[in-house]
Symmetry: C2
Subunit: 232 residues, 2 copies
Amino acid sequence: MPLSATELEVLGSADLFQGLSPAARASIWASAALRQVPPGSVILNQGDEPSQVYVLVSGGVKLGHLTPNGGTIALEYCGPGDVVGCVAVLRPMPYPVTATAIETSVLIGWSAAQIEACFEEHPMLLRNMARIICARVDDLLQRLRELVTEPVEQRVARTLQRVLPVFEGARRAGETALPLSRQDIAELTGSTHFTVSRVMSAWEQQGIIESRRQRVIVRNAPRLASIAEGAC
Amino acid sequence: MPLSATELEVLGSADLFQGLSPAARASIWASAALRQVPPGSVILNQGDEPSQVYVLVSGGVKLGHLTPNGGTIALEYCGPGDVVGCVAVLRPMPYPVTATAIETSVLIGWSAAQIEACFEEHPMLLRNMARIICARVDDLLQRLRELVTEPVEQRVARTLQRVLPVFEGARRAGETALPLSRQDIAELTGSTHFTVSRVMSAWEQQGIIESRRQRVIVRNAPRLASIAEGAC
DNA sequence: CGCGCGATTGACGCCCGTCAACTGGGGTGG
DNA sequence: CCACCCCAGTTGACGGGCGTCAATCGCGCG
């Protein structure tokens, strides 16, 4: 199955392939396998030996870390162009997260050996991969800081801000319905769906957001931003 | 100033240089500058533009992240062989942490341009760097999980366990005095020195640890491990 | 249309952060 | 060599944020 023009455009603007010549890109993409998955399916599983790296072409993927006591910590919601499984292929250790499709998604993937070969042939690919992982370090560090220093309300506000661009497709601002349950947001903030519900109920009364079952619409983004920055 | 035999041995077993030929190592080390710093001096500062990467040859370095409200989160205590500043050189963003010497330390360092040249000539160096950053991702992820799911006492136990090997030089087990104040441990656990003091007072009464001013000695490591694992 | 599951709301309590006061060990200067 | 003083550590009191549990509601998919 060949990629469509819009899919190729997505790949072309993906961080992983920046600075590579068209020829290099073509060669790298040629060795990839295409995979389409339905919503809810698991793409790779925490604890498994790393075998594949993917770049998301279309759809959406949730990265979650399972805790020993049955809870889960949501790490990131990925959109088109994002890399999935990047931390694992660079070293022989089990995947630290589980990746689940939240909608019908198309990915292109490489086996560990294939991506290895690409690294050898195109050093820039490895550079890009390293940079992407550095971005993840920054993100985790920020999350750690927020968890230690900020109350739940502020973290929820930050989370909504952070997730918004992922789901904004061609939508206009103020009209994007985030497909997130209270539980999803709790996992993103390191909290519980009870506390999240209380926070969001208060916001809805103030007109900052609007919410239906499993859906959140941000109505007053500036106000949300000020809460995220700590203005009470 | 040339490196001593023991210093060369430390560098040789550093993760960053694994898989490189003696010739490659010599070439990489030749382009490095040696730097010696007294205790308490700042090696690189959070927010500065990244200019240097270092490998710690001897001594000890603390990596801390400063929060907007004046607090600090301790990320890691580095020992000989560890890389300092690795996340920053791979991309043009300010250092996310401040590195401070906790004792007289010797480091070898490269400028961004120099390390760049080494990457080009020795791809394995970049591979190793990427792997080291992946290890940091794992560490941050684990810290995040602990912060969300575990009470302070458990996190303090984990912290002592984690920091012990850094300070164990040629010491025998059960005799290593960790040079950490209550405040230091609080910053490592995302807590306060009050709570840490309470936890450690209880432990001292049970003979698990012994403590003096700015010093902690683990007397009953197995017991500490069981607390770290959540056995109350 | 009915049922299942996500959301809401209240009650309760505990962990731990905050503030204040006190103690004592050890380094420094006289 | 002693005395002073600074700062890390200790301990108690207090309160609030938020996790936990239980009960109920009601949207929306099948």
